[in-house]
């Protein structure tokens, strides 16, 4: 048969590889900065765009979508062309993909630091960027499917199954979770509120882990591991079963982020059991990776690339066992809101994603530059430094998590909290935060070894922009042949394969999400719950803008230890006007849901809040909260009030008709009351300042039902 000549485009691979390294350095540097802020609040610099609440989302977004994201595309463009024996279908689409993705990252960093955030973790970007992400993602996926259709191999390899699942699922997750109504050029409110928003958000959030940090990286593992080891994949049968089980089961697991919270019990239980059922499918990937190395273990000792891969896959196995364990109610009751979760995600990020990326980069550059890696020794050093860094990072964080949980929950014999002052707990784990900073810094330093090693490798070689290859054209083949298994059949039917993947991932989402919208009993109505006043709404937007949700939850779980500390536990019906929900996922500081309840254990005066926002360390010398002096200088954006009210009305919040035009009168009246109260206590601040709105919001929190402990008994 006649051989066709074609070229693999290495240039796009190189572009994404450089971007991976660059954003890796940036993302990790920002991680080191926020770790420093945790031990040294002065490192927040009392400036809006350098304070923890705005910077932490930059770290998470940079690491996930910039470092890992570019890592995905690096390995994807390299492997896809070779696995399909064809160049990319469209080169200009690859360039649009590259520059589009980089501009999304830059826009994300700038807008997050400027305070434009939706307040939904890992989906913080605002609506114009959301639209851009969707468009660029479609460019990437379209080009992928087009290339697959133009392939010269009959079947698509398991790596490509994972790429297809990644493409379709991330598209669905991103679009469904980002449906929002703009009230200005850069700001919007999500259409979902409270419990529904939480459910959609964590359906998205958990599957960002599944379909952004896991499935594409499994695809990369299936290519680079056998290539680097020069060994066959352990079991094709295992590939099939674990692939389909993984994508079908993963999508259900989101509610495990909301255990013991104001989510219907049935949804929580589904989150738990599907997480448990994920152990085997996840381990299927680990086994298939590790057993591929059979016969090559002696080379693992020599070859840094394989070392990185082995630890990456092992970290994947650990994370995917720990994750299901954390989804058990009794373990989650300890781990949730503590640093245990932080340790867990960093085993995944530093170990699985980081190490797989490093191994892949060390493997790719010599091949793209027709040379050898500059120094295996340095790569080995990077490996050991990174491994130590992970231990220094994770052990203190596990320890901190257990310390926090036990101090939160400890009662005296007489039935009182042993540590009613939250600050005692923060102070107790300070040494662990220092050690974490040390571990994170080590990992960051390892990155420079990589940069230097790659720089020298690039210098020594010469780049091969296009790699020639040849193969015969694909023969047309029709219906399923006798003796051909069904799976083997759809491996040569990529469109059908994609449709099946979509069906597999849609089932779980539909069954979990739809009922909370249509079955009223899932969110029982509470008559006393009223919409926020215009001032409170403005304050809430400031709360979101400053990223308060990064450190404070708004979710009192039904535990004695929480109702003693915070007040009545949270009810689903209390959050019906919360667009977006702000339940949070980590308590660096205390929960705030009952902060405004005058009979509750947390209540503070307006004066206290003002003093505390201006200088938390003046109130508590050991506090690690940033200072917010600009809140007393910046004006409340009253011009936006009518638009905000109108969007809320559109979303079903029952403000009276025509209220958008009267709202500012109420806003000013309420602001005057607070300013006057501050004045009687010797604080002179104009009623038009942002701090007034934020105080109004904080004083409103949890008061609709929380005022009397017996209100809901």
């Amino acid at each position: 048969m006649e051989l066709q000549k074609f070229y693999y485009d290495n240039k796009i691979v190189k572009m994404f590889a450089y971007a991976t390294i660059f954003w890796g350095v940036v993302g990790m540097l920002v991680g080191v900065l926020i770790a420093l802020q945790m031990v040294l609040p002065a490192a927040n610099f009392s400036l809006p765009f350098t304070s923890f609440g705005r910077v932490r989302p930059v770290h998470t977004n940079a690491v996930i979508f910039a470092f890992v994201g570019n890592g995905i595309f690096t390995g994807y463009y390299y492997s896809l062309q070779r696995l399909l024996k064809t160049g990319m279908a469209s080169n200009w689409m690859t360039r649009i993909h590259f520059w589009g993705w980089q501009s999304i990252i830059v826009l994300a960093a700038v807008s997050l630091l400027a305070g434009f955030t939706t307040g939904k973790e890992y989906a913080e970007l605002e609506w114009p960027i959301d639209i851009l992400i969707a468009a660029i993602w479609v460019v990437f996926g379209w080009n992928m499917m087009w290339t697959i259709l133009k392939r010269r191999t009959k079947h698509i390899y398991v790596a490509i199954w994972f790429f297809i699942a990644t493409f379709v699922t991330v598209a669905v997750l991103h679009i469904v979770n980002s449906i929002e109504i703009p009230w200005s050029l850069f700001k919007s409110y999500p259409v979902y509120a409270g419990v529904q928003d939480a459910l959609v958000q964590w359906w998205y959030g958990h599957n960002a882990v599944a379909f952004f940090l896991t499935t594409p990286y499994l695809g990369l593992m299936y290519y680079f591991m056998p290539k680097a080891a020069n060994r066959p994949v352990y079991s094709y049968k295992l590939s099939i079963l674990h692939f389909w089980a993984l994508i079908f089961l993963y999508i259900w697991a989101g509610p495990h982020h909301l255990l013991y919270q104001a989510l219907p019990n049935w949804a929580q239980s589904l989150g738990t059991v599907f997480s448990i059922m994920l152990i085997a499918p996840s381990w299927g990937g680990m086994i298939n990776g590790l057993l591929t190395l059979r016969g090559a273990w002696d080379r693992v000792r020599e070859e840094p690339v394989l070392k990185f891969f082995v630890v990456a896959v092992t970290a994947y196995g650990m994370s995917t066992f720990e994750g299901p364990m954390l989804s058990l109610k009794n373990i989650n009751a300890i781990s949730h809101f503590t640093n245990w979760t932080v340790a867990h995600v960093h085993i995944g990020a530093l170990g699985w994603n980081g190490f797989l990326t490093f191994g892949m980069i060390y493997w790719l550059f010599p091949r793209m530059f027709g040379t050898k890696l500059y120094s295996n020794k340095l790569a080995n050093l990077h490996f050991w430094l990174g491994t130590l860094a992970m231990l220094f990072y994770s052990i203190p964080m596990y320890w901190a998590g257990w310390t926090e949980a036990s101090m939160w929950k400890q009662f005296t014999a007489a039935g009182d909290l042993v540590y009613p002052n939250y600050l005692e707990i923060v102070t107790q784990i300070m040494p662990m935060y220092w050690m974490r900073l040390f571990g994170g810094t080590l990992y960051f330093l390892g990155m420079f070894l990589l940069v230097y090693n790659i720089y020298k490798t690039v210098k020594a070689g010469s780049f091969i922009p296009l790699e020639a290859a040849e193969a015969p054209a694909l023969e047309k083949e029709g219906a399923r042949k006798s003796g051909e298994s069904f799976h083997r059949f759809i491996e040569r039917r990529p469109i059908q394969f994609m449709i099946l993947a979509v069906v597999a991932v849609l089932i779980g989402g539909i069954i979990e999400i739809i009922p909370t919208f249509i079955i009223k009993s899932n969110i029982p109505t509470i008559a006393t719950v009223k919409p926020y006043s215009p001032l409170e709404l403005q304050g809430r937007d400031i709360y979101i803008k400053e990223g308060c949700y990064v450190c404070h939850s708004q979710m009192v779980r039904p535990f004695r230890s929480e109702t003693e500390r915070y007040g009545e536990y949270s009810k689903a019906g209390e959050y019906v006007y919360d667009h977006p929900f702000q339940w949070g996922s980590k308590r660096i500081g205390p929960d705030l849901w009952r902060e405004g309840v005058k009979s509750g254990p947390l209540y503070k005066s307006n004066t206290w809040h003002y003093t505390h926002f201006m200088d938390p360390q003046k109130v508590n010398a050991q506090s690690i909260m940033p200072k917010y002096p600009w809140l007393a200088e910046k004006e409340i954006d009253v011009e936006a009030t009518p638009a905000k009210i109108r969007v809320m009305q559109y979303l079903g919040v029952p403000y009276p008709e025509g209220y958008d035009l009267k709202a500012n009168d109420d806003l000013k009246a309420q602001a005057e009351t607070i300013a006057a109260d501050l004045k009687t206590n010797g604080i002179d601040v104009a009623a038009s300042k942002q701090v007034i709105a934020l105080i109004a919001y904080i004083q409103r929190l949890g008061t609709d039902v929380g005022d009397s402990k017996t209100a809901l008994k």
Partner: protein, 210 residues
């Protein structure tokens, strides 16, 4: 290796991997990556089955048969248990009428510990006052002007009922009567200590303090 496929494979012995003695799958070759025909590991299959059984039992036990309590019931059970505990260990009653400041070192130390946990956020670490008033001067807000006295009894009532308008919550649920007596004794021991950055006097000057 060329692009052969199963149905084109010549009949005969399948190819064997030399290092592991496992069978290759014919026609499974992608950019040089081949695949082995290994079965699913037994233990892996059983693990999968066990987790599926766990899932079914879990759903049935929580949502059909009600073998285990859901979170609201769990909370109610805990609350009942703590209420019983409190009933079984009644706090010693304190006669407010005869209460006087304590002077024993142990009591003052216990009072200081409570102060650091709770009071310091508003009244500052050395009692010099911040959002709340200064405890080290002779000026007090809640004293008895007729007798020109501020006594531990007056302060006890402040702690029990709180001064909500000023942001001071009642602490009767968080502190036992003994703890309140101890912390107030500690506070009164701060008289005349002159810490740095004192808050300006609030209230009325009293001569009889204690």
């Amino acid at each position: 290796m060329s692009n052969t496929d199963e149905h084109k494979m010549p009949q005969g012995e399948p190819e064997i991997d030399e290092l592991t003695k496992d069978r290759y799958l014919g026609g499974h070759e992608y950019d040089g990556i081949r695949e082995l025909d290994n079965k699913l590991p037994r233990w892996w299959i059983y693990l999968f089955y066990i987790t599926i059984i766990f899932a079914v039992v879990y759903m049935v036990g929580y949502h059909v048969t009600g073998w285990w309590p859901l979170q609201e019931t769990e909370y109610a059970n805990d609350s009942t248990a703590i209420a019983a505990l409190k009933l079984a260990n009644p706090e010693p009653t304190i006669d407010l009428e005869t209460m006087v400041p304590m002077t024993a070192v142990a009591d003052l130390a216990a009072g200081e510990a409570t102060y650091k946990k709770i009071c310091t956020v508003c009244h500052a670490p050395q009692g010099q006052g911040l959002v709340g008033p200064n405890f080290t001067d002779q000026y007090w807000i809640h004293g008895d002007s007729i007798t020109n006295t501020i006594s531990i009894k007056n302060l006890y009532n402040v702690v029990i009922t709180g001064v909500i308008a000023k942001g001071m919550i009642p602490y009767k649920d968080q502190l036992s009567p003994l703890q309140i007596q101890q912390v107030l004794s500690f506070i009164l021991s701060l008289q005349g200590t002159n810490p740095p950055n004192p808050k300006a006097p609030q209230g009325v000057k009293y001569d009889k303090i204690g």
